[in-house]
Amino acid sequence: MTTISDVDHVQGGERKPVLSLRGISKHFGAVSALTAVDLDVHAGEVVALVGDNGAGKSTLVKILAGVHQPSSGTIAFGGGPVVLSDPATALGLGIATVFQDLALCENLDVVANIFLGRELNPLRLDEVSMELRAWTLLNELSARIPSVREPVASLSGGQRQTVAIARSLLTEPKLILLDEPTAALGVAQTAEVLDLVERVRARGLGVIMISHNMEDVRAVADRIVVLRLGRNNGEFEPDASNQDLVTAITGADENSVSRRASRRRAQQSPELGR
């Protein structure tokens, strides 16, 4: 443990990582979803986690959220080793997660969902304060939620995503995990979420963001970590070329993305192709 954090000190300069994973593996039966994955997140840093479908990104996030337990490997958070045995432990440590499937209770209204598990005044719910705080959070995200007293079932996909993000900001977390945070959002809301990620970084929190949208990733990430088939497959600066990133993600120079790109080039300039 000590040797590892010593190494990190050298690599990360003055900064100590908020979160550091070493050799995380996860097996589901015969399938190895993750194999010996290492990952560091420093305070005030946005790490983008990219990879193809089935690369293990969401599994990694679920391990950090306490939903799954790793088969092997160690997790250090805030300087010491931790065991994230269930979601309550992860939340208690200050790890907030926006899941890809959002994990909202459709039968409850927006306020109840935002405060779920963290209600104010447990024996006599303080509905007025909770509703006020909910509106404040949603307005910060420039959300277009018609009413916070309607069940979540009546909201659109994008509105639900905003509710899920608002929920992760409710308690002051130390680390925020965003699994595809902008997938269902409109143009303005996407920009708000990216702004938000930057604001969170400025406050000195760590952010892990999963996204398939390279434009979003480049816009906010300080570091891009590529996973491929459950293993680390390279780390890039945000100004890395698309070619390099795609190669790392797909694992080959010659891949469907490059083939498509060259075909399009050929179509746009038929004289050259001939």
Binding site: P87, N107, L108, L116, E131, S154
Partner: protein, 418 residues
């Protein structure tokens, strides 16, 4: 004048800034919002009201004794026993599980009280507490089987249905029934004790007053916080309507023997349960687990503990209902808790508007539903129909209630109301 200030401030209220949402500000809007809600499958207590009107007209035309004050008083005595069991069913349905053994647990509890109190000469209070604690232990056992061994509650409680019935028969032995002493406080409570008229009037007034005061204070806080709130006039109107309705019911019952204390206990339990389900963190967790178990777990809720509380509450209330039934009949018999008790308790909760699919329900659905079920039972008894016919009719009513619930749920899904 108050209306004018309301109009002006509406534009700036935090929760009224979205122009796409219609709000029920006027009486006409309120009515049309209600119609919309019903059409989209959010039926609330409408089926109960319609059902009660149909039942009352039908039975009253067949036998004018049906609506006589004393028949209604008897009906309320009968309601309370199944009603308390049904309140437990509401709890377990909220988390999307089921307890099919409530009838057997209630029979077991009534047998236990008979054996301990009359057979073993224990003090009656100790016998009652023992029965309640053992009822809770049965619920804890179901929760253990469910949480740790993954046994579906449907199967474990079906096994319990048979098991606790066997235990009840074993306890009662060859004699088959134990008579509880007439004139004892417990039997008096179950058969005779009614509120003095003045107490019943005052309680009815206090209920509507409390409703008004809490509503007024919430509205004041909301207005102070810049949120929309219902107007004073509407609250006064609502409070007046409730007062008049409650006082009329009490007046009518006082024309007969009066309001049974046992019914008062049942209503009190409903009020407490309603508060717990709607105004506490525990109640929120119950709805959340019933609506989306995995989401609740990821929000940091201890899902196993929520299931434990639901199973334990359900079995404890079933035991309580059994003890009340024993008091009502002045005996602990082999028949207690058998027959239609189980299904009546479940049917009452569903008819009252608690969903079989979890996450939706209210403590008052037990109260409303059991009144419907008991009215049917009472009406059929007055018509001197055999129990064969009663079973068939009650079965049909239960089927209709579940059909309404399923259709309403499908409609809610398609209208985005969960």
């Amino acid at each position: 004048m108050t209306d004018d200030t309301q109009q002006i401030s509406t534009a700036r209220l935090l929760d009224r800034s979205d122009e796409r949402v219609r709000h029920a500000d006027t009486l006409g809007n309120t009515i049309s919002a209600f119609v919309d809600r019903v059409r989209s499958g959010d039926l609330g207590s409408l089926p109960v009201v319609v059902g009660l009107i149909v039942i009352c007209t039908a039975f009253e035309s067949l036998n004018p004794v049906f609506l006589a004050p004393n028949n209604l008083v008897n009906l309320l005595f009968d309601c309370s026993t199944v009603g308390v069991i049904s309140l437990g069913i509401v709890c377990i349905l909220m988390v999307g599980e089921i307890d099919l053994s409530v009838g057997s647990v209630s029979g077991f509890a009534s047998a236990l009280v008979g054996v301990l109190w009359v057979g073993q000469d224990w003090p009656v209070a100790v016998a009652i507490v023992t029965a309640l604690v053992l009822g809770g232990a049965i619920g804890a056992l179901y929760a253990f089987l469910f949480n740790r061994l993954g046994m579906p509650s449907f199967v474990s409680t079906l096994a319990g249905l048979l098991g606790w019935l066997g235990l009840q028969l074993y306890l009662l032995g060859s004699s088959g029934s134990i008579n509880l002493p007439y004139g004892s406080p417990l039997v008096n409570f179950g058969q005779m004790l009614v509120m003095p008229p003045i107490v019943s009037y005052v309680l009815a007034a206090v209920a509507s007053l409390v409703m008004f005061v809490t509503g007024y204070r919430t509205a004041a806080r909301r207005r102070q916080a810049g949120l929309s709130a219902s107007s004073l006039g509407r609250m006064v109107l609502k409070a007046l309507l409730v007062t008049v309705l409650l006082e009329f019911v009490v007046y009518y019952l006082n024309l007969g023997r009066g309001v049974p204390w046992m019914f008062g206990l049942f209503v009190g339990l409903c009020v407490v349960m309603n508060y717990a389900l709607t105004r506490t963190k525990w109640g929120r967790s119950m709805s959340a687990v019933g609506g989306n178990r995995e989401a609740a777990r990821r929000a940091g809720i201890n899902v196993r503990r929520v299931y434990l509380s639901a199973f334990v509450l359900c079995s404890t209330l079933a035991a309580a209902g059994g003890i009340l039934a024993a008091a009502r009949l002045a005996s602990s018999s082999q028949q207690a808790g058998t027959g239609d008790v189980n299904l009546n308790a479940i049917a009452a909760a569903v008819i009252g508007g608690t969903s079989l699919f979890g996450g939706r329900g209210s403590a008052y659905s037990a109260l409303l539903g059991v009144i419907v079920i008991q009215s049917i039972a009472s009406g059929l008894t007055l018509l001197d129909l055999s129990s064969s016919l009663r079973y068939m009719i009650t079965g049909a009513v239960l089927a209709i209630a579940v059909i309404v619930d399923s259709l309403a749920r499908r409609s809610r899904l398609s209208h985005g109301r969960a």
